[in-house]
Amino acid sequence: MKELQAQYKRILADYVESQTERNLYIGQNFIRQLIQKSVTPEEIINIHKSSMEEIYPEIPPAVSHGYDFLIEVMVHFGLTLREHQSLLEHQEELRIEMNVAAKIQNMLLQTEMPKTNALDIGHISIPIRKMNGDYVHFLHNDEDYVSVGVIDVVGKGVPAALCMSMVKYGLDTLEYTNGEPSYVLEVLNRIIERSVDDSMFVSMFFGRFDCARNIFTYGSAGHEPALHYKASEGKFHMLESKGLLLGVMPDVRYSQHEVELEEGDFIVMMTDGVTEFRNQSELDSRKVIEALLLQLKDLSAQEMCEQMYQELKKLQELALDDDFTVVIFKK
C-alpha cells in the first residue's frame, strides 16, 4: 500500500504541475491497476487525501474535513461494488455447473444409432439452449426390429432435463420386452403421470420397424404426426394416431397402426420445433416441409436430416425458437 500511495502521489503532483493529456492518461492507467488489486473507492480517496496533504501542507482544514466526509459516504459505494462482484462470481459458478449438467445430460442421453442393412437411418437433434428438450431413443437389440422413440418434453431447461432422464430409464427398462408401441406408451404414461407436476408432460412418437416383414408399427402420445412418403404414389401420407400426451392422466390407452414400407419409401418423425413456424400458419409449414423433402428424397437419410435443418433454419431467418429434432427411416 505504501508503494502505491507513493506512486499515486507522484502522478498527482505531475498532473497538478501540468494538466496534460499524457499525465491524465498515466493516472487512468494507474487506477486500472488499483481496481485489479481490489482497492476500494474509499481507499482511493484516502490515498488522494494523504497525497494532497503531503504535497500541500498548508491545505485548509475544511478541505481535509471535506475529504473525510467523502470517504465515509463512499464506503457504501464500495459495499455495493463488492456485492456486485460476488454476484458475478456466483453467476460464473452457476454457469460452470450448468455446463457440467449439460454434459451429464448429453452423456446420459446418448443413444446409439442402430446399424442395420434393413433400413437407412438418419437423425439430427439441435437444442435451442444448453439443455435439449427433445430426445431420441433407438432400440435395436436383435436383428428383427428397429425401434425409435421421438420425445419432446414440455417445459424447458433443468426441469425438462430431469424429466427426460426418467423417460430414458423407462425406455431402457422396456428394451427387454420388445414392446409394441401401444404398450410402450402405456407404461411410460404411468411412470410419468406418477412423478411429475401438473403442468409438465411429454409428447412422444414411438415407431417399430419389423425388418423381416417391412412393416412399420407406430403409436403417438400427443406428438406431431410423422410423414410417410410412398414412392409408388409420389405422395406423402400423415401418420396420425390419436393419443393423449404422456403424464396428463393415469391409465390411458394408446392405439397403434401399421404401414408397409416399400422400396424408396421413407418415414419422417419430427418434433414441433420443426413444424411450428411462428410467423406462418400451420398448414403452410407442412406444405413447405413436404416440398423440401421431395427435393431431398434421393439423398441418404442422414443427409436429408442435415439438409432439412439447414434449409428450415434459412427459411425462419435463423430464428428457430425451439429444439429441432428429425429422425428418418428410409427403405
Partner: protein, 116 residues
C-alpha cells in the same frame, strides 16, 4: 411479446379473456394470473382465447394444470374461441378428447389424414 388477461366474475361464473402470445416468456405471467383464481366446487371457469395469436406447448401445460385443478375441486373449466391453429394443437396432443373446448365458428378445424 405481450400477454394480457382480464377476468369478469358473475356469481359462480368466471370469464377470462386472454390476449396476446403465449410462449416460454409470457407463460409465467398467465400462470400466475390463473393461480390466483379462486376455484371452488360449483364454479365455472371459461377462458376466451380468440385473441391469442400464438401459443406453444408451454401454454398447453398451463391449461392442463388448470384443467386438473378444476377437476380436483369439482369445478368446471372450458376454453372458448379457439382459432383453428390453436384447435389443432389441442387435437394433436389428444387434449381435445379430455377438455371442454369450443372452436371459434368462423374458423373451422381441418385435420386431414392425407395431404398431397
Amino acid at each position: 411479446m405481450n400477454i394480457n388477461v382480464q377476468f369478469r366474475q358473475n356469481e359462480n361464473i368466471i370469464r377470462g379473456f386472454v390476449e396476446g402470445e403465449i410462449d416460454t416468456y409470457t407463460a409465467p405471467v398467465l400462470r400466475e394470473e390463473l393461480d390466483n383464481l379462486r376455484i371452488t366446487k360449483g364454479v365455472s371457469v371459461e377462458l376466451d382465447l380468440s385473441k391469442v395469436s400464438y401459443m406453444d406447448s408451454t401454454g398447453l401445460g398451463i391449461f392442463v394444470a388448470l384443467y386438473k385443478r378444476a377437476t380436483r375441486e369439482e369445478a368446471e373449466f372450458k376454453l372458448v374461441g379457439l382459432t383453428s391453429r390453436l384447435a389443432r394443437l389441442f387435437e394433436i396432443t389428444g387434449l381435445s378428447e379430455l377438455m371442454d373446448l369450443e372452436v371459434d365458428t368462423d374458423t373451422k378445424v381441418e385435420i386431414g389424414n392425407e395431404s398431397v
